[in-house]
Symmetry: D2
Subunit: 467 residues, 4 copies
C-alpha cells in the first residue's frame, strides 16, 4: 500500500517519513484489540442501519466481511501492515478491499477517537474479569492451604523477629485478605471501565442520528459516557486498573518475600515444589525460589507502568492528543504480568510443603510468649506498663542465661514478681498462647477454622469468568 | 524525660543515640492524629471496663484525663516531646502523669500496631470526607459556569488544534465528569478505609476479652478487620487513597494546562481573577496564572507520594515493620495538597471571565466545520471515506487561498463535488454544526442544558461533610 | 530438549512446570545480547587457554563454534528455545551440540552471574555510544537551525506569556544546551558502565587461575570491578543510564510541547514537515504534530522504566537474586525509545519551517519591551523598584487603551514619569531591545552567532560512534 | 504589609485572595536559602558598583544592610512573612526598610528567575559537599569494619541461600564499592550544579552592563551558563542530584535489608548497638532494628521525590513557569533524608557486633563448597558440565542423608566419581575454599587486606567538606 491510500492523506503533499511510520504506528501492539474492534464495528454498523444511515444490505455486507476478517485473524492468515498504522485502519482497509463501497461507510458517525476508547474498554473489561477469575483461583488455593494448617504453630513476626506464636493457617489467611480487597477493588474499578464512549465521535458527538444506548446494550456496557469531550480524552479507567494492579503485585511481592525467606536454610519453614524452582549452573546444591524472586521484581514493573500512565496524562489539554497512544503498552504489560503471575501462584501454592516441626521449634525459641506473661501479670492486677517492665527483666535474664522462658523456673520468676504462681506455665506454652487469642480476627485455631469456612462461602458465591 | 522511662526500655542497657531519636521519632508529623488517638483510646478503655478488664472508675479517670489532654492540645498548651517518639506515647505518658496507675492500664489488650492503624484510618476517613466536600464545591462551581455558557461557541481541540466547534458549557462539563468519577472512586475507597483494626493488638490478637465490634461501633467503623496479621500490616487503604488523589491532581493539572493556554495572549479565551494571579518583578505587564501553574507542578508531587508508598510496601514480609512509619508523611502531604488545591479551585472557578468573542472567532477561523461538510456529503450518498477525501481537497484549497470554508463559494465547491448544493452553507456555520450534535453526551446546547440539570440534581442529592 | 538436559537439573526430581518456563525464561528478550555473549565467551576461553585451564585446541574449537553460531544468528538460522531459559544457555548448548566436550569446558571459572553482567555492560556501552551519536546529530541540526535564525525576533515566554523579545536562534540554542548536558552526563555514566565483572563468577570469584585484566582488555573495558560480591549484584549502571535517559526524554518532551504549541493555529510560528505529521480520519483539515505528541507521551514511559528499576533493586540483599532479571526489559525499552525518538528528531528538525513574520508580530504585540522601559528609567537614576511601578502604570494604561507601548506617546509617558524623553522610543523597539542584551548567554544576535560558532566547534571535535 | 506593597502589584486592581497567599508562597520552605540569597545579592551588587550601575556608597549600604539581615536571621530575630511570598522578597523588602533608596536598586539587572536558580545551585553545591563528606565517613567506618574481618568466614548468598563461603570483610567492602560509585557520581553531578545563571535575568539577559564572570568568580562557580533561556528554566541539576540520591538510598536499603536479616534470630550474625534499636510496647523481648527498617522505607521517599521532579518538568515549555517552584520541597527532603540517614549509618556501623561463630557454622552447614568440588573435578580433567552433574548427585545424596559434604566419605564419593581422591577434603573445607579465590576482586583474605589498603588510601586522599 502506498501513502496515497492513507485514509487521512487527502491534504498532504509529502509522503510520510520512513521513521515516522515506525515511530507512530501502533498496530504492532494494538492488533490484540482486533476482537473488540470488530465487535464494536458490527454494533455500530447495525445501529447505523437501524437508524437508516446505511442500508440493511450494506450492514449485512459489513457484518459478513468483518466476521471473515475475524476468522482470518484467528487463523493467523491476516496480514498486518505497519503503514496502516493501527488495528482500526488495518481492519477497515481489509473490509473495503473485501466488500467495496459499503466498507467505506462503516466509519460514518464515529472517529478513531471514540473507536479506540471503545475497544480498550471492551478489552480491559474482559481481561479484568480474567484477573478476577485468577485471583479467585489463588484465593481458593490459599484457603485450602490454610484449612490444612489451622493448628500449625509458627512464630508470628514483627520487625522480622519472632513476636508471638500464631497459626500458619492464620498467616495464609492474611494473604487471602489482601487478595479479597484486590478483588473488591477491581469490581469497583470495573464499573468505571464498563461505560460506552461509542458515538462520541472525534470529540463533539456526531450529526448523524446515532443511538448510543443501542450500541452500548449490544456491547454489554453498563451505561454510556455522558460527555463526548471527556469520553475521548479520559484514560482514568486505564490508570485506576493499573493502580489496582500495582497493589495486586505489591501483595504478591510481600508473599514472595516470605516464601524466599521461609524456603531459605535460615528459616527452612517451607519447601517449594521443584516445578517452580531452578538450580544454579555453578552451585549444584541450590534450589532457587525463582517464581518468588521474579515476582518481587515484577512488582517494580507494574508500578513503573502506573507512573508512566500518570505522567503521560499529566498536563494534557483536552481532548484527544496522540500522547494517549502511549497508554496501551503499559496497560497490556500490566495485564500480561498480573495474569501470568497470578496463574503461576495458583499452580504453585498447592505445592508448598510445610515443615511444621521447624515452624514449631522456631516459635518455641523466640520468647514468643512474653506477651502472654505480661497479660498474666495484668490479670494478677499489675498495671500493664509495670507488667511490661517485669517481663522485660525476665527476658533479659533468660537471654543472658540462654534459656527459654519456662526454663527460668518458678523460684526465679517469683524474684521478678511475687504475683507469679504455678499456673504461669500454662500461659508460657505455645498452644495455650495461640488458643487464648480467641476473638474475631484472632489467631486461635477455632477462629481460623471459622475464617476458612467464611472465606470458602465467599469464594464459592463468586461468579467468575471462565478461564 | 530520660531513657529509663521509654516505655519499651526494660531490656536495654544502653541509652538511645541522639541521632536515633531524631531519625526514628514520628511525633513531629503524627501529632496531627491526636484527636483520633484519643477517641480510639476512650473507645478501647470503655470496652475494657465493660468487659471487666479495668474498673469503671479507672475508665472514668482515663476518659477525663484524655479529654483534658485533648483540650490542652487544642489550646496549644501541650508539650510534644521527640524523645517520646510518637503521638501515642506522648499522650499515654501525659495521661499517666495526670491520673497515675489507671493510665498504665490503658494499653491493656492493644499495641501501637493496631493503635496507629486505627488512628490513621479514622483520620483518613475524615479527610477523605473533606476531599469529597471540596470536590463537590468545585463541581458545583463548574456546573454553574457551564450553565452560563451552554450556548457559548468555542473551538473544540484535538492535538491542540481546532477540530470542531463545541460549546464552552460542554467543555466545562467535561471537567465536571472527571471530578464526578473522582468522587465515586473515593466513595469506593472509603469502604476499604472504614474498617476497624482495633483489638488486633501487636499482630495476633489478644488474650483479653475484647469486644471488637463494640469499639468499631463507637468509632463509627463499618466493620472490623477479619485477620489480625493483615490488619496491622495492611496499608492498601493509604495507597488506594493516594492513587485516587493522583487522579484528582492529574485532572486538575489538565484543567490548569487549559487555563494557562487560554489565559495566554495566543488564545485569550479567559481572564482569571487578579486575586489568583501574580505579577513579575521585572516585567510589570505580566499577569501570571500562578494557581494553574503551581497546580500542574503539584500533580507531580502527589504522584511522587504514590510512588513512595508503593515502594515502601514492596517486598515487606508480614507483619508490622518500622518501614511503615514512612507512610504518614506522603499521605499527609497528599491530603494537604489535594485539599488546598481543591479549595483554591473552588474559589477561582467563579472568577473565570469568559471572552466569548475571542472563542467564537477562533472557532470560525479553524475550518472547524470540515467534518460537517463530510457528513453533508455522506447524506448525499457519498461513501464516508470518499467524502473525507473531497473535503480534504476543499480544505487544502482554502488553506492555500487563505480563506474560510464558506468563502470558497458554491461554484468552486461544485468542482470538488457535484453533489454540493446551496444548502451546504447551513452546515458550514458554527451554530448549525453545534446544534446538530444532538444526542446523549453531544455538544448541542439543548443537550448541555440537560446535562447541567442532571449534574445539579446529582450534586444536590449528595450528602457532604461540612467544611 | 527435555528437562533432564537443563544444565542445572542434577539435583531435581520433578520437571519444570509448563508455566514456569514461560514465567522465568528471558531468552525472548535477552537474545539481543548474543553478540556480546559470544564476544565475552571467546575472551574468557582465550584467557582460560592462555592460563592452561583448557588446551589451545579446545579454545580453537570454542572460538570456531561460537563464530559459526554468531553467523547463524545473524542469518536468522538459529533456533532460540524458551526451555533453554536465556541467551547464555541457548548458545552454550548449541556450542556443545556443535563441538562436543570442549563446549562443556567453556563455563569453567565463570557463572551466569558474571556472564550476564558482562554482556549487559558490553551491550549498554555500545548503545550508549549510539545514543551519543544520535544526540550529536540532533545537536548539529539544532545548531544549524539556530545559525539561520540568529536575527529572527520572537517573543520570549515566561508563564506561557510573552515576556521579552528574544531571537529564535537563541531559543533553539537553549534546546542545544539541554542536549549538551545530556551528552556530558552520558559520558560520565559511561565510565561506570565500562567496567568488567568477568571472572567474579557466581559471587566470590573463582579458584581457577583467571586473568581478569586480560579479558577486560580484550573486551575494551576501562578497568575491572574490584569486588566480586558487588560486581554480580550491581545494577547501578543500568539505573544511572536510565536516569540520564529520563532527562533526555524530558528535554525532548519540553521541545515537543513547544512544537505542538507553535504549530497550532493559536501561535502559528512553525510548520512541521508533512513527513512527520498525520491527518485525522474525520477532520480532513487537521495536520497533527504526531511526533511531538508521541514524544511527550514517551517521556512518561522512560520515567516509568526508571521507577521500575529503582523499585526492583530496593531492599535486595546481596548478591545475585533472580529479581535482577527484570532489569532487562525496562533497559532495552529505554534504549529503543531514546534512540528512535532522537533519530526522528534529527530527521525532523531540518524540516521545521519558521514563520518569521508571525513571530515578529507576536513579539510586537505583547508589551515585551516593558522591561527595557524600566531599565531606561533606572539609567535615568530612578530606583529599580520605583521604575517598576511607573512601568506598571504605563502598561495598565496601554492595556486599557488597547495600544502598544510606543503608541502611548511622549506626552502621556511624561505624565507617568518626567524622566522620560525622546530617546525612549529606541528602547521600546524590539530590535534595540534584543541587541542590548549583549553579554555571555544573552540574546543579542552577535552573541547568538558567537554561541553558534562555539557550539559547532564543540560538536565537530566530538568523536562519535558511527551510526 | 498590605497588598499595595507587593513588588509586582503595579498593574493589579484586586488584592490577592487569602488562599492564594498560602497556595503560592514559598517562604515557608525556601527561607533556608537565605545565606545563598544574601551572598548572591552582595556579589551582584558589588559587580553593579564596579560597572558603574550603582555607586560605591550604595553598594556599601547594601552590603552592610544584607549582613545585618544575615545576622538577624541567624539569631532568629528575622520576621518571615508569607504575604512576601519568598525568601528573595522578604530579604529585599527588609533591606529597603533598613537602608532606603539604595535597597530598591539591588534588583537592577537581575530577576527572581536567575536569582532563585543561583540560590538553589549555591545551596545544593554546599549540601552535595556535605553528602560527600558523610559518604566518606560511612565508607571509612565500613573499611575499618572490613579490616577487622578480613578472615571472618560467612556464607555468601545468592537467591537468599548460602552459595559459597566468603569473608565478612569482603562483603562489607562490597557495600563500600556502592558508596564509592555514589561519591564519584556526585562529583560528576557537581560539575553540572556549579554553573552560574546569575545575569541571565528573567530569561533573555539584561541591557545593563553586567559582568557575569565576575559574580561567578566571587561565588566560586566553575563557569557561567551559556544560554539565558536555558539558565532560568533548567532544573536538570536538581533531578540529576536526586537520581544520584535515589541510588544512595537504594544502596542503604540493601544494606538495611541485610542488617534486618542478620540481626534476626533466624540468622543471628550481627548485633546492632542498643543505641540504634527500639523495643516494643507489648513484646518486651524484642530488639527492633529500627534504623535499618526506617532506612528501607526512606528509600521509597527519595525515589518518590525523583518521580515528582521528573513529572514537574515534563512537557513544560520554556522558559520559567511557576511549576518550577515545586522543585524545592522534594529537593530539600531528599537532601535532609540522605544526610540524616548517612549520619546515622556512620554512627551505627562501628557498633555492629559480629557473631563470627554463627557466621562460620552457617557457612559450614550449607554445602557451600559444592562449587569447589566441581572445580576439583574439572582439575581432574572432567568437563565442567559433567562435573556439575556429579556434584549435583553428591549434594542430593548428602541432603537426603542430612549430612555435610565432608561427611559423605571417600568411599561413597568415589561411587559418584572415580576421579575423587584423598586430597578432595582440602577443597571441601571453608578456609581452603575462601583462600583459593585469590584474584582481583576475589574473597581470599589476602585480597581483602589488599582491598582494605587501597580503599583507605583512596579515602584518605579525598578532600572533604568539614562536617
Amino acid at each position: 500500500m502506498n501513502d496515497q491510500s492513507k485514509l487521512w492523506g487527502g491534504r498532504f503533499s509529502q509522503p510520510t517519513h520512513i521513521l515516522m511510520e515506525q515511530f507512530s504506528q501502533s498496530v504492532s501492539f494494538d492488533h490484540r484489540l482486533y476482537k473488540q474492534d470488530i465487535a464494536g464495528s458490527i454494533a455500530h454498523a447495525r445501529m447505523l442501519s437501524r437508524n437508516g444511515v446505511i442500508s440493511e444490505t450494506e450492514f449485512n455486507d459489513i457484518e459478513c466481511g468483518l466476521n471473515e476478517i475475524l476468522a482470518e485473524i484467528e487463523r493467523g492468515d491476516f496480514q498486518w501492515s505497519e503503514s496502516m498504522e493501527d488495528v482500526h485502519m488495518n481492519i477497515e482497509f481489509a473490509l473495503t478491499q473485501k466488500i467495496g463501497e459499503a466498507g467505506k461507510k462503516l466509519h460514518t458517525g464515529r472517529s478513531r477517537n471514540d473507536q479506540v476508547a471503545t475497544d480498550v474498554r471492551l478489552y480491559l473489561r474482559e481481561e479484568l474479569d480474567v484477573v478476577g477469575a485468577l485471583l479467585t483461583l489463588v484465593q481458593k488455593a490459599l484457603v485450602e492451604l490454610a484449612a490444612q494448617h489451622t493448628d500449625t504453630i509458627m512464630p508470628g513476626f514483627t520487625h522480622m523477629q519472632s513476636a508471638q506464636p500464631v497459626t500458619f493457617g492464620h498467616h495464609v489467611l492474611a494473604w487471602n485478605e489482601m487478595f479479597q480487597r484486590d478483588y473488591e477493588r477491581l469490581q469497583d474499578c470495573r464499573k468505571r471501565v464498563n461505560i460506552s464512549p461509542l458515538g462520541c465521535a472525534a470529540l463533539a458527538g456526531t450529526s448523524y442520528p446515532v443511538d448510543r444506548e443501542m450500541t452500548a446494550k449490544e456491547l454489554e456496557f453498563d451505561t454510556v459516557a455522558l460527555n463526548s469531550l471527556d469520553a475521548v480524552s479520559d484514560r482514568d479507567f486505564v490508570i485506576e486498573f493499573n493502580a489496582a494492579g500495582a497493589l495486586v503485585m505489591m501483595h504478591l511481592s510481600r508473599i514472595a518475600e516470605e516464601l524466599v525467606l521461609w524456603s531459605s536454610p535460615a528459616f527452612d519453614f517451607v519447601d517449594l515444589g521443584d516445578q517452580f524452582c531452578t538450580g544454579s549452573s555453578i552451585m549444584p546444591q541450590k534450589k532457587n525460589p525463582d517464581v518468588a524472586e521474579i515476582t518481587r521484581g515484577k512488582s517494580g514493573r507494574v508500578t513503573g507502568n502506573l507512573m508512566s500512565l500518570l505522567m503521560i496524562m499529566k498536563g494534557q489539554p483536552l481532548t484527544y492528543n496522540r500522547d494517549n497512544q502511549e497508554d496501551k503498552e503499559p496497560l497490556f504489560d500490566t495485564i500480561d504480568t498480573m495474569q501470568l503471575t497470578l496463574q503461576i501462584f495458583a499452580a504453585m501454592v498447592p505445592t508448598i510443603g510445610v515443615k511444621t516441626d521447624n515452624m514449631l521449634s522456631a516459635a518455641a525459641a523466640g520468647y514468643s510468649t512474653a506477651t502472654d506473661l505480661a497479660d498474666y501479670l495484668v490479670r494478677k492486677q499489675i498495671p500493664f506498663r509495670d507488667a511490661h517492665e517485669i517481663v522485660g527483666n525476665v527476658v533479659a535474664y533468660a537471654v543472658e542465661k540462654r534459656i527459654d522462658l519456662p526454663a527460668v523456673g518458678l523460684d526465679q520468676l517469683k524474684i521478678f514478681s511475687a504475683a507469679i504462681e504455678e499456673d504461669v506455665f500454662r500461659v508460657l506454652e505455645l498452644q495455650g498462647s495461640v488458643e487464648s487469642r480467641n476473638h474475631i480476627g484472632g489467631t486461635a485455631p477455632d477462629r481460623v477454622r471459622e475464617a476458612v469456612d467464611n472465606a470458602r462461602k465467599l469464594l464459592d458465591a463468586r461468579e467468575v469468568y471462565p478461564v
